[in-house]
Amino acid sequence: MQQPSSTSTQPTALEKVIAFVDERVGLKTLQAKMLNEPVPGGSRWAYIFGSILLFIFIMQAVTGILLMFYYVPTADHAYASTQYIIHDVDYGWFLLSYHFWGSTAMVVCVFAHMSQVFLWGAYKKPRELIWLVGLALFGLVMGFGFTGYLLPWDQRAYWATTVGVEIMDKTPVVGDFMARFLKGGPTPGQMTLSRFFVIHVMILPAALMGLAGLHIFLFRKAGPAGPFRGSVEELKVKSDYFFPRQVWKDIVGMVTVFLSICALAFWEPVVLLEEATPDPGDYHPEPEWYFLFLFQMLRLKIFAGEFGQFLGAVALPGAFMALLAALPFIDRDPERNIFKRPIALIGWIVVMATILIFTVSAIINREFLD
């Protein structure tokens, strides 16, 4: 039986809703702007890290909010409430472990994203501001890791924070103020926990949302840098829109990261040590793994003493960060091909090898302490 022709042209209920929203919000224009961004040289797996970082942050926010339903940020109850989450709350162990491994994944992806931008020469003109905002975001991610580490209030958390604050204390001019402000007393206690909690769940997320928005806005304004090799003609031929190929790659990347974090949550679920106490006992204080290289560096003889500690803990990392910030203004050569920028390539290899060697050294060093 043939359908009347009028029914086939009649919009469905869903189409009507979409048309209603579109008329008021401009949904189709927004969609076109979001998805029809041209990607010079076509989609690539190397470009997925930015989207993955955004995805991890959203997941961290979701799991963090769920954890906050049970977590009590007081020195008396923080440890007990975390134990309660692990042992009594349904799927609480999984949420906490996902949140824990998610922070690690975020640090890894930030390193990968920064490395990609550096190696691709994507920080060069006209993308200097994107790079600078990205560096600020890197600082925020590190801040998230540092402040979140204290919250379970076990020995590991307490002593990692103590070590971190001591390192911060060595900063000239503001170090003493910052250390006192964060600790809120002579030793870490209730005030420290309250301040770290507020910074972790309010200040840093707000700052991250603002800066991430600015980062994306600047990125859309300047446009993707594209590959560092290939003529203008070749890039033009291979150019593609953000949707569907790059979106598909991003989705695959997100799924892979999500599955990896879940697998790690199963592999090594969060287990607390004893409750935090000012007596370290047999526990050898050390920071989270991504600060281990710095911690091990400070054990070197050259960084012994007050001045040495300042040099290793503040001056060198500070100078390195300043160098990174100044990079787009120092390196004005438009050449982006990493194989034609030997200093940049060697510099990146040296930095990565140093971080790797010192991190592994810190792990080996544990045997000597035990």
């Binding site: 162990w93 020995q155 697998a263 199963f266 004893e274 006992g281 526990y283 091990q296 060697i357 060093n365």
Partner: protein, 335 residues
Amino acid sequence: MTDQESTSPVKLALKLLWFTFWTGFPIKLAFALLFLAMGIINFEARIGLGFLMVLASPVTVFALPILMIGLDSHIGEGVGIGLLFLLCIPIDIWAYGVVARTYFLDRLRLEPPDGIGLSLWIKTAIIGALYLPILWLVVGFTTETGISAAHSLFETEMLKWVPIAERIGIQLTLWGAISTAVLLIMLLIGLSIIGRVIRGATIGAQPAQDSYQRRVMRWDLMRVPADQGLMLTAFAGTGVVLSLLFWSALPVTTPHPHECCKKPEVKAQPPYKPIDALNKDEKLIVQLTAQLEALEKKKAEEEAQGKNKAKGKAGKEAAKVPDAKAPAQSEAKKP
């Protein structure tokens, strides 16, 4: 010179294996996670994590069991491990096929031969099964030798003074550099062998006659079927089913480690409780004070008794001949 001639075997193998690995990895990882949630996989620490990361890529699928048997190592327990291995095989064959076909058309401009995924997978898996144990042994031997050499170097009188932190860093750099160099050389040799096998598959292949646009469309359709709606529905449906299975299998409380794969327990010193410690110390002080008082009392009594005895003795002996040694003897009896 054509593209297949200009591309080095190492580059050819690296590209195909890298893309194949990433094509199959998310699918295999989804199954691995499901099995972990079901509790049918229990991995040993390092090797298990390595397996989880690599998930039996086309090269390791047969090499890993051989290594485990040869070196008498234990990867873990559970039927899930075997099941995952079996699942990895068709996924790898499919991934290898998709990658090889698109690579042949797009980069090499050749018509991909029929069944290329299966034939390349068999060859690669056999090479991996033979070559990876050799690589493992060579790199393992080099690393062990490098570590012992680096250690003995720092045992010499000349370098004994080097502090621990510096020593660890230098030793690690020394043996790490040697091991990495050997590993890279061995990997290059392995990739070169696989690259030659892949190049062998190109010999009989016919050049693709289509225009560039047509070729792009063809390899696009190899990866994404023409009916995209059907594909998206299938993907979404599979995702929903897997998610439901995952949440229904996910343990509500922390899963206990299996007997075979218990991790070393990390324990900190019991917490220091200042009030308890003070109370305990106060009790101890009271107890010790009481003991001290009792001892002093006893001592005073003994002294008093000693004096009385001495007085009595002196009184008796005063009547006899006086003896100069008597006071000294009584002193010597004192505690």
